[in-house]
Amino acid sequence: MKGGSKRPNMEKSHQLHFLEYRTLFFIFLLLLMFTGITVGVSYIDLGRLNVWVSLLIASIKGSLVLLFFMHMKYEGRTLILSFLGTIFFLFIMISFTFWDVSFR
């Protein structure tokens, strides 16, 4: 029975894992709520803090999309580490650029 139709390893590598409609809709509602907050905050003048607050809220929203809609919360080590690696290189790009610009 070599090479039969049932391959437990294959099944495991592409595991059937999905989020219920309810969970997805709840995430959608959370995203709407944070959108409301970011619009609201933009009317309050916090000086330079405004940019940081809106970036923080955008990051929270982005994380929700990434973790649940894009399923990253349930992925294996390969995807999680490679994603973090990308963010790390993005961070290097941003910080080195500002390092350069602010000491010119």
Binding site: R7, M10, S13, H14, L16, F18, L19, E20, Y21, L24, F25, I27, F28, L31, L32, T35, T38, V39, S42, Y43, D45, N50, V51, S54, L55, I57, A58, K61, G62, V65, L66, F68, F69, M70, T78, L79, S82, F83, T86, I87, F89, L90, M93, I94, T97, F98, V101
Partner: protein, 198 residues
Amino acid sequence: MHSQPDESGKKLGMWLFLYTEIILFGGLFVLYAVYFSTYAHDFKEAGKELNRLLGLLNTVILLFSSFAVAAAVTAIQKKEKKTALAGLAAAILCGLIFLVNKYFEWGHKIEGGIYPNSEKLVSGPHGQNMFFGLYYVITGLHGIHIIIGMTLLIVSLIFVQRGKITFERFALLENSGLYWHLVDLIWIFIFPLFYLII
């Protein structure tokens, strides 16, 4: 020789591509950040020209479309073909509405003399020229991504309809979904940076 399709490999490949997209838009956001720190005042003045309501509407549309695609991926795994088709159709429709809104938004700007290399921008404050330059490049590139994403979703829709995407083999649907979510993710950052700065 019959070989088993490597579903998780397909997904990893898609993610590797998405990483390059993240760096692409990341680079543009760095550009935005550097000019914002130099021309904060001009950016704030220019940001007032953008229609917040239209930006907000497009944000809600994209968030909903992302939800619809995520629901479609769930539906195919639950063998609920009709729900999957409905989710995909809803997302495609949302993408279309997004583009129509964008068309009116850009049209209105261009009528008002705000477009790359226009008389008004070239002779106006330098920072505002930079702001609208970045606005057109970033939202334009994002718009192209919407069109590509919609194409992928349409292909997925047809394949689900024809039974080529099933609960056993849905990598194409999953990867199209990932692409669409990334487009949504980028918009989540575009919206506050361009429409909401004060």
